[in-house]
């Protein structure tokens, strides 16, 4: 019986590998950009399954929510905007130049060059992985040994918010930087308000939005002991925000500029302030007082959740919400 199950999962893995490769190839080579994007979204979901098979459910959650869901929504909305521009006959800009290069494809010679380089890279990587000197388990043993001191029981959360919290602090800075950069570039376009005309969809949203927000909070809470955490919860919150934007429910919220900016920076500010406070209390940067790790992590993650959700959701506008005075 066990052998059959092992056999089955082996077959399943091979199908997964082939599907991932095929979808990756198709999403790069499809001459219809829209179809390419849909295949890219499907690819993200399959990758999430692959992460599950590798027994990394935290990564799988993040891949499904951010890699497939939000990235897919962003690329789709970019595609729609590009098409609208072309239909309106907006004079060629930097962005439509890019789209033309994408559509006409690169020249044959550069294709050969890129192909050769990729092949060389693949060979080198294959050789390197094949010659791995020892099957190393990385730092798994050390991190599990220190897990009880971290204040949480989910090892992924312990690494992200305690052992290597400094990396995460800077990463949350990268997220904030991303939205500052996008807002610096241009004004966003308000997504259409026409969903208000559809009562069925609106009543569905009325049910769905609170559930999404609740689920985001749940993921944050459960992250201490099981797969979940601020990034996964933030992605759900962002999904709720995108739905709200699409339905035209967030108009008034978008005009509160100071509030938005405070929410966006909350993660970085609270995290950095916690780092300094810990330094003052214990003499070590980001070194939480003994026994209080869980509480500190929860506060930091709650602030990060709000910022991550707002950042990923507002990126969907493709620019800053209102013209500032």
């Amino acid at each position: 019986m066990d052998r059959e199950i092992a056999m089955m999962s082996h077959v399943f893995d091979w199908i997964l590998v082939l599907l991932v490769l095929a979808l990756a190839w198709r999403s790069l080579n499809d001459c219809d950009l829209f179809r390419g994007v849909i295949q890219f979204i499907a690819l993200g979901l399959l990758l999430a399954v692959a992460w599950l098979r590798l027994r990394a459910p935290d990564v799988a959650l993040a891949e499904a929510a951010v890699g497939s869901g939000l990235t897919g929504a962003l690329i789709l909305s970019a595609l729609v905007r590009m098409r609208q521009r072309e239909r309106r006959g907006v004079p060629a800009s930097a962005s439509s130049d890019t789209s033309r290069t994408l559509q006409s494809g690169t020249s044959n010679r550069s294709r050969v060059l890129i192909g050769a380089l990729s092949l060389a890279l693949l060979t080198a990587l294959g050789w390197a992985v094949f010659r791995f000197s020892a099957q190393s388990s990385g730092l798994a043993v050390e991190s599990l040994a220190k897990l009880p001191e971290s204040g949480v029981t989910n090892p992924v959360t312990a690494v992200l918010l305690n052992f290597r919290a400094y990396d995460t602090l800077l990463e949350i800075g990268v997220l904030l930087l991303a939205i500052v950069g996008v807002w610096a570039l241009r004004r966003g376009e308000r997504p259409g308000d026409d969903l208000r005309e559809r009562p069925l969809l609106m009543s569905l949203l009325r049910l769905l939005l609170p559930v999404l927000v609740l689920a985001a909070g749940y993921l944050l809470w459960i992250g201490a002991s099981a797969p979940g955490g601020a990034f996964q919860g933030g992605a759900l919150l962002a999904g709720a925000l995108v739905l709200g934007l699409l339905a035209g429910l967030a108009g008034r919220f978008l005009r509160r500029e100071r509030l938005l900016r405070t929410g966006l920076t909350l993660g970085v500010l609270v995290f950095a302030a916690a780092g300094l406070l810990a330094l003052w209390r214990t003499g070590g940067l980001l070194q939480y007082p003994a026994g209080q790790g869980g509480a500190w992590i929860l506060v930091i993650e709650a602030a990060a959740l709000i910022s991550i959700g707002l950042t990923l959701g507002l990126l969907y506008l493709g620019g800053r919400p209102e013209e500032e005075k």
Partner: protein, 486 residues
């Protein structure tokens, strides 16, 4: 204890300032000035600890490597932090007027976004120089790259957007190559700490591939010939203070990581053949960049190509510093050269911004007749040029002299030839600008007046580029703290 606060404030000061400058867009300049004050204080505290007690290490979160992340300050890191602080301070003063005095309506918008992006860049640089962990270095590279790209795009015109887009693609691809290498290193050695890697890393196929990937990515970010193609358009089309930051500091971040990798973590893989390849690319960069600088029609493009050339000198450090004889000579020479170039290039780009502001263009052939109005700016350009060419007593001279002595001691005479030809070419392109600027044309158009602070900050950086050479003994002493070989 003091060192802990210095570490924390050097990184978190500018980072929190960036967030605050975004929340309070009208207070950007004040926030940046406060950040400058905080980082200056933190740096002074740190340098005192390093001079008194040697290399300082901060175990973030109370965990030590390999589980946690170590921050580390040795002489090299402290020197880089000083250069970063000086240039960021000058840029803060300069930008306070630069964005306000621009002629178009968009300038208020630009200023609002300049401050948070600039402060992010500053935080990223400080974090990069203090990091002793190759994965943490990847995160700082991400921060640095995104901030740099967004700052280039801030110029807003078509050319700037195009070059920012190209810069983004190069920067992202390079980051991915670096990350791929880090993953392989972690798989092989089960640590990402620089010091632990130095003990664990043994030459083998996995590490060779990993190091090749990381080096390839970093060379693209450092714009070493032939991967320099993205640099001239990006640096020439950005707003002047941004060009200064990019040329003086951002490309050096990647170079710094290369030093940490090849001379520290993977010193066992740093063979003479590898070092000669780096040196060869550096020599090609010197010749190619200088020759191109000679023929550029616009001042900012000339200065940008000069950066391509000057980056080449830094890579001569690889073949010269690896040797036992005169290795430290080349090491300190290359790093003094780096500081000299950073100050000189800041002065040059700020001056180019002043000339653009005054004349409304930076076409070199039409520069005639503008000297009698902004003499300070022209003087600043001349002084900075002095350091770029490497004339005594400038710091450019001190750096080149040490590199030359090292190559003579080691009998690697071919680098001497390259350096001399490069200096002659630098003299030619600097003179090309100065001769234009000093010719008087009777019907010269009356230029726009330049705010004094913009002229004086450019001059101050030029004076530093020259004067640093007079005290070159001090950085050489500092660099001895924690030097990667005995």
């Amino acid at each position: 204890m003091t060192a802990s606060w210095s570490f924390a404030l050097l990184v978190l000061g500018p980072l929190m300032a960036a967030a605050l400058a975004f929340v309070f867009p009208r207070r950007g300049r004040g926030v940046a000035l406060a950040a400058a004050g905080i980082t200056a204080g933190a740096w002074v505290g740190l340098v005192r600890e390093v001079m008194a007690g040697g290399v300082q290490i901060q175990r973030v979160g109370g965990w030590s490597a390999p589980l946690g992340i170590d921050l580390r300050a040795d002489g090299l890191a402290v020197l880089m932090l000083m250069v970063t602080g000086l240039i960021s301070g000058a840029v803060t003063l300069y930008s306070g007027r630069y964005f306000r005095d621009a002629h178009d309506l968009e300038s208020a918008h630009r200023e609002r976004y300049f401050w948070p992006l600039f402060l992010f860049l500053w935080a990223a640089l400080n974090a990069l120089f203090l990091s002793a962990d190759i994965f943490n270095l990847y995160v700082t590279l991400e921060l640095l790259g995104f901030a740099a790209v967004a700052l280039v795009a801030l110029a807003g015109n078509r050319e700037a957007l195009k070059s920012a887009m190209r810069y983004l693609f190069v920067s992202l691809a390079a980051s991915l190559f670096y990350l791929l290498g880090v993953a392989l290193v972690y798989g092989q050695c089960a640590t990402v700490d620089l010091t632990l890697l130095a003990a664990k890393a043994q030459p083998g196929p996995t590490l060779w591939v990993a190091l090749a990937l990381m080096t390839g990515g970093l060379l693209a970010k450092a714009a070493l010939f032939p991967l320099h193609f993205w640099l001239p358009p990006a640096h020439a089309n950005a707003p002047a203070p941004v060009s200064a930051l990019l040329s003086a500091l951002v490309v050096k971040g990647a170079f710094y990581i290369l030093l940490r990798l090849w001379f520290e973590a993977f010193h066992s893989l740093n063979t003479p053949a590898v070092a000669q390849v780096f040196g060869g690319l550096g020599a090609a960069a010197i010749l190619w960049g200088s020759a191109n600088a000679l023929f550029q029609p616009r001042l900012k493009l000339l200065v940008a190509y000069s950066t391509v050339a000057q980056l080449g000198y830094l890579f001569l450090l690889f073949p010269l510093a690896a040797a036992r004889d005169g290795g430290f000579l080349a090491w300190s020479g290359g790093l003094i050269f780096l500081a000299a170039h950073a100050c000189a290039k800041t002065a040059m780009f700020l001056t180019a911004g002043n000339i653009l502001h005054a004349a409304g263009h930076d076409r070199i052939k039409d520069l005639g007749g503008i000297t009698h109005v902004p003499p300070i700016s022209t003087f600043a350009f001349g002084l900075a040029g002095l350091s770029l060419i490497g004339l005594p007593p400038s710091s450019g001279f001190a750096g080149k002299w040490l590199l030359l002595s090292a190559s003579l001691v080691q009998g690697q005479w071919w680098w001497v030839v390259v350096m001399l030809v490069g200096s002659l070419l630098a003299a030619a392109y600097v003179m090309r600008v100065l001769t234009r600027a000093f010719t008087r044309v009777p019907d010269a158009t009356a230029p726009h007046p330049i705010p004094p602070v913009m002229e004086w900050t450019a001059l101050a950086m030029a004076v530093l580029a020259v004067g640093f050479g007079l005290v070159a003994r001090w950085p050489a002493e500092l660099l001895r703290v924690g030097v990667p070989w005995p």
